[in-house]
């Protein structure tokens, strides 16, 4: 028994040392693949359970919400066309050199929790050119989050709604305005460091700022639901409604760092 334990420990120590000193990444990927592939199915089942539970507990609200969503989609399509037009104008100018425009398609394999944060696991990694800091968005231009770690064939994204996420943001169409959007415990988004004199109203569209590293400006983050200001404070805060529900994300785009 003791001899077996010692042998097991030695094998284990060997595996861990080999992982760091020898090119064993290929072998690790082979072992990882079945875990992640079955994990994708488990994750989808979890999402289904959550959707089912949400349907039961919020059924009556959903009808009203879908009507609101239809109006918002129409509004968004208008804003998106404007934003893309304005982005193209910036690309043509000298600022275009700083914007990482090359992007690759990826798929969300699974969702999980790491250190109290929701993370999305995707099927692309460093061998596809993805490194920590790359931005992720949907093909409709909705910002999802940033890559926090990447291995050869998988990477993980920290979504904007996670408590550890902080993104430089602006109001669509206002180049002067700058603030920071943080995750609100996975429930929504909070915009902080809004200057006192900034005039914001509910419904304003918040997008990524040019100040956010490795991220194209103009990606949609959310709409302002309410603005809060306490007398005597230097900054205002705002509560945002994200454009994205993490439950249904599958196909995404990753902007490669130049």
């Amino acid at each position: 028994m003791i001899k077996n334990k010692k042998i097991l420990m030695l094998i284990l120590a060997g595996i861990i040392i080999l992982y760091y000193i020898a090119p064993t990444k290929g072998l690790i990927n082979i072992i990882r693949s079945p875990i992640v592939l079955v994990g994708a199915v488990s994750s989808n089942m979890g999402s289904l359970v959550q959707t089912w539970w949400f349907g039961i507990s919020h059924g009556s609200e959903l009808v009203e919400k879908s009507k609101d969503q239809e109006k918002r989609i129409a509004q968004l399509q208008f804003y998106l066309s404007q934003t893309l037009f304005s982005q193209n104008s910036v690309e043509e100018s000298s600022l275009g050199d700083f914007i990482p425009l090359e992007k690759i398609q990826a798929q969300v394999l699974a969702q999980s929790n790491v250190a109290g944060n929701k993370v999305l696991i995707i099927n692309k990694g460093t061998k596809h050119g993805i490194y920590p800091g790359s931005a992720a968005a949907t093909s409709q231009g909705v910002f999802i989050g940033k890559i926090i770690s990447a291995d050869a064939s998988i990477a993980s994204i920290l979504p904007t709604t996670s408590p550890s996420s902080a993104i430089a943001a602006t109001i669509s169409g206002d180049l002067e305005f700058q603030a920071v959007v943080k995750g609100n415990g996975g429930l929504g988004l909070i915009m902080e460091l809004i200057p006192q004199d900034a005039e914001l109203t509910a419904g304003d569209i918040v997008t990524t700022s040019i100040l956010e590293e490795n991220t194209p400006r103009g990606l949609l983050i959310g709409t302002i639901s309410s603005v809060n200001y306490t007398q005597g404070q230097l900054f205002q805060t705002a509560v945002l409604t994200p454009f994205l529900s993490l439950q249904n994300i599958q196909d995404i785009e990753i902007f490669l760092i130049k």
Partner: protein
């Protein structure tokens, strides 16, 4: 038996990390820990240590924010701690047994969450923010749910056992 153990650990990873992970942000289920603990308490030491190593290795493979090896070593330590304290679980009454499970889950979840947080922040490039309120809320709720899970499984197992003859016409 070893294949069964591998399947058990694989299922525990799927349930703990992927299934529950996609349902809620701060909710965890610790079936992997429960498997290691039950095997250790019932004196199946070689299977328990193998389960600890496999569970730790699988977590190391999928939680890429944490440097490889950290969670495997952590789970071997978990096995060693349970092994040294296994007599407590065996000497208590049935009601206290549930309390022992709950408090061990609480200790395990606090330790493992802190290990993941500190190793991903200081040994890796991640920048997670520590929210003490969310941390305590998460470990208490997760430990409670994991305890309810094991109690539920226990009840189901006893119902199944007592009705086995009736359902399957076993004489």
């Amino acid at each position: 038996m070893k294949l069964l153990l591998l399947i058990g650990v694989f299922a525990a990873i799927q349930l703990d990390y992927f299934f529950i992970g996609s349902i809620a942000q701060q909710l965890h289920l610790y079936t992997g820990f429960l498997l290691i603990a039950l095997l250790t308490i019932h004196k199946r030491h070689s299977q328990a240590i193998l389960a600890a190593v496999l569970y730790g290795l699988m977590l190391d493979l999928i939680i890429i924010e944490v440097p490889f090896g950290v969670l495997t070593i952590a789970h071997i330590l978990v096995f060693m701690i349970i092994n040294s304290q296994a007599n407590i679980a065996l000497s208590v009454s049935r009601n206290l047994y549930i309390a022992v499970i709950f408090f061990s889950l609480l200790a395990y979840s606090a330790a493992i969450e802190l290990i993941i947080f500190y190793s991903s922040n200081f040994l890796s490039a991640s920048n997670f923010i520590f929210d003490s309120y969310a941390f305590f809320e998460s470990i208490i709720i997760s430990s409670l749910i994991s305890t309810l899970f094991v109690v539920g499984m226990g009840i189901m197992a006893s119902i199944f056992k007592s009705n086995l003859r009736k359902w399957f016409f076993v004489r």
